[in-house]
């Protein structure tokens, strides 16, 4: 059955019809929240008093955030975690990718899969599991450490007493960083494998002819060729690290840990809104953190302008 020509959708109008459901949702749930959050950041408002009770406070919320000790502490925690979980991922992912690239054929997908699997599993389930593994008494990680401390030489490096991972302010951040490392290292292995495939094989052949050893080839061919991907990957890790929320949230029971030592900025702004009911200050904090993330992205993009379009 054919519709009369007047009722049929013309090619001119088709894209608008096709896009309309997406555009409506995108406007309401993608763009409007941002605009609203920008507005909210200049208001003082308590959720209990209704939407009409907003009061314009200018930059008051920003001033409050910048004078807030906990906000600065959360920024320091976040930066520490982003670096301590981000940088080692790459130091490990690069050699792993090189090993898989050069020596794995049949088992390649299996090896990549094993490293990638943590990336697709539930952060909450993982964080819950790790909070049991990190238990002070009888937690598997401390049991492992006490076994290793009986080994000569290696034992000297191991702490004598069980480590209180989750309650001791100095230990909670390394514990979080370990989980984040474990979760994302496989993602980076995949990035580097993709980059390794683009290095032409004849460069290595020529280097071998010239008598360059494996290590020399790694430092003079592989590493320089991977440079753009290293910067791109490190940027992704740092940006992702600055948004860290779920792992520390679960490990610290949603509060940020002893002395707020596991409290990231994302957790703090969540608490500012939902525990302390200050939605205006929380919005201002989210914009401050956003500016930090955007600035870092911009700086790295500028430094690697030729690879435009890769994000």
């Amino acid at each position: 059955m054919k519709l009369p020509a007047a009722l049929r959708l013309s090619p001119e109008w088709t894209p608008y019809v096709l896009l309309s459901p997406f555009v409506v949702l995108f406007a309401v749930f993608g763009i409007f929240p941002l605009v609203f959050s920008l507005y909210l950041a200049f208001q003082s408002w308590e959720p209990t008093s209704g939407l009409g009770a907003m009061e314009f406070v200018g930059l008051g919320n920003y001033a409050f955030a910048l004078q807030d000790e906990w906000f600065w502490k959360s920024l320091k925690n976040t930066a520490w975690l982003a670096l301590a979980s981000g940088v080692p991922q790459h130091l490990v992912a690069i050699p792993l990718a090189v090993f898989i690239h050069t020596s794995f054929k049949k088992l390649r997908n299996g090896a990549v899969g094993a490293y990638f699997m943590p990336y697709i599993t539930s952060t909450v389930a993982i964080a819950i599991l790790f909070s049991s593994l990190f238990s002070t008494d009888y937690g598997l990680i401390n049991v492992g450490i006490s076994l290793l401390s009986k080994v000569p030489v290696l034992g000297w490096l191991m702490p004598a007493n069980p480590v209180d991972w989750l309650n001791e302010p100095d230990n909670i951040k390394p514990a979080i960083a370990m989980i984040v490392f474990w979760r994302y290292v496989g993602f980076n292995v995949v990035l580097y494998l993709a980059a390794l495939q683009t290095i032409p094989a004849d460069i290595y052949e020529a280097a071998t002819m010239d008598g360059a050893g494996r290590l020399q080839q790694f430092f003079h061919i592989t590493l320089p060729s991977l440079k753009p991907m290293i910067f791109f990957g490190v940027t992704l890790s740092v940006i992702g690290g600055l948004q860290l929320f779920e792992e520390p949230f679960i490990l610290t029971g949603g509060r940020g840990g002893t002395d707020q030592s596991g409290m990231t900025t994302a957790i703090y702004l969540y608490r500012m809104a939902f525990d302390f009911n200050d939605f205006g200050a929380a919005s201002a904090m989210s914009w401050l953190l956003f500016i930090l993330v955007a600035a870092l992205t911009w700086v790295t993009n500028r430094a690697f302008a030729p690879r435009k379009g890769s994000a």
């Binding site: 995108f26 050069t102 794995f104 990336y119 940006i239």
Partner: protein, 274 residues
């Protein structure tokens, strides 16, 4: 000569030991799921499967509406996958094969939001949902999620690279209606991309924690991750039951991943690698 023979074996062992370390937490999650709390925290800790699985499950179902929570997780993940596939395939097709006003500017805007940190929307989304009366309603999770910038991006790339404009033009000449072209020509050709996006959307929704944390307030409406975290308390956490719940939340993902790891990995890194 010797070092050439040695090198692959060194590579095998480093990669192999690393892979075991990566997989060990999963192994212990499933092992602990079959042990009681006292067994998990005894010396030596359990290294192999025990027989407390059903006991743990019983504790779990007594402490929270576990099956209900599991059901909501599944329902939200399926609804969100269906809506995302529909809206993103339509939008991706429009972006790839049509010309219209402000197309590039709008696509740029969509891509820009892809880089937006997730914490930005946390507070306003709560307020919007509150104003709409959607607190504690599953649609608060799957409807906003359907406007996926990543989905639009993935679909547009796929349409642009695998559906020739001539094919669409020819169908139009033959008198096929515009929506007919989408439904009968574009959609069938999009199958591989729909599979990838479907898997990614399902997994993201299944794992979603921040979304339900903001909008789901009563325990009967919790999705699985939220329900599991509510079982955690400073004292007397039922670790055995919690591990059973975590293992049940993880198992479907492990199965999906084993069945489709190549497709999933290339889809999830599509934005980064291309």
């Amino acid at each position: 000569m010797n070092s050439d023979r040695l090198a692959p074996w060194a590579a095998y062992s480093v990669v192999g030991v690393g892979a075991l370390i990566m997989l060990a937490p999963f192994y212990f999650m499933f092992v602990f799921a079959t042990h009681s709390r006292t067994e998990i925290f005894s010396l030596p800790p359990p290294l192999f499967f025990g027989d407390d699985f059903f006991n743990n499950l019983k504790i779990l179902t007594e402490r929270m509406p576990f099956w209900r929570n599991l059901g909501w997780s599944l329902y939200v993940a399926l609804a969100s996958t269906a809506l995302t596939l529909l809206f993103c395939s339509m939008g991706g097709y429009a972006f790839a094969l049509f010309d219209f006003k402000f197309k590039n500017a709008f696509f740029g805007l969509v891509l820009g939001t892809m880089l937006l940190p997730s914490f930005m929307n946390m507070i306003p989304t709560f307020m919007i949902m509150d104003a709409l009366g959607w607190i504690d309603q599953p649609k608060a999770l799957y409807i906003p999620g359907a406007a996926s910038a990543f989905g639009i991006f993935l679909m547009r790339q796929f349409v642009a690279s695998s559906i020739p404009k001539d094919l669409v033009e020819a169908a139009r000449m033959d008198g096929c209606s515009e929506l007919g072209i989408y439904a009968r020509i574009v959609l069938p050709l999009l199958k591989p991309a729909l599979g990838t996006l479907g898997l990614i959307t399902f997994i993201a929704s299944w794992n979603n924690f921040i979304g339900p944390l903001i909008v789901m307030r009563s325990p009967e409406m919790y999705t699985l991750p939220l329900a599991l975290r509510s079982l955690q308390s400073p004292v007397n956490t039922e670790w055995g039951a919690l591990m059973t719940g975590s293992a049940i939340a993880t198992l479907p993902l492990v199965v999906l991943f084993v069945l489709s790891s190549r497709q999933l990995i290339s889809g999830l890194t599509a934005g980064a690698v291309k």
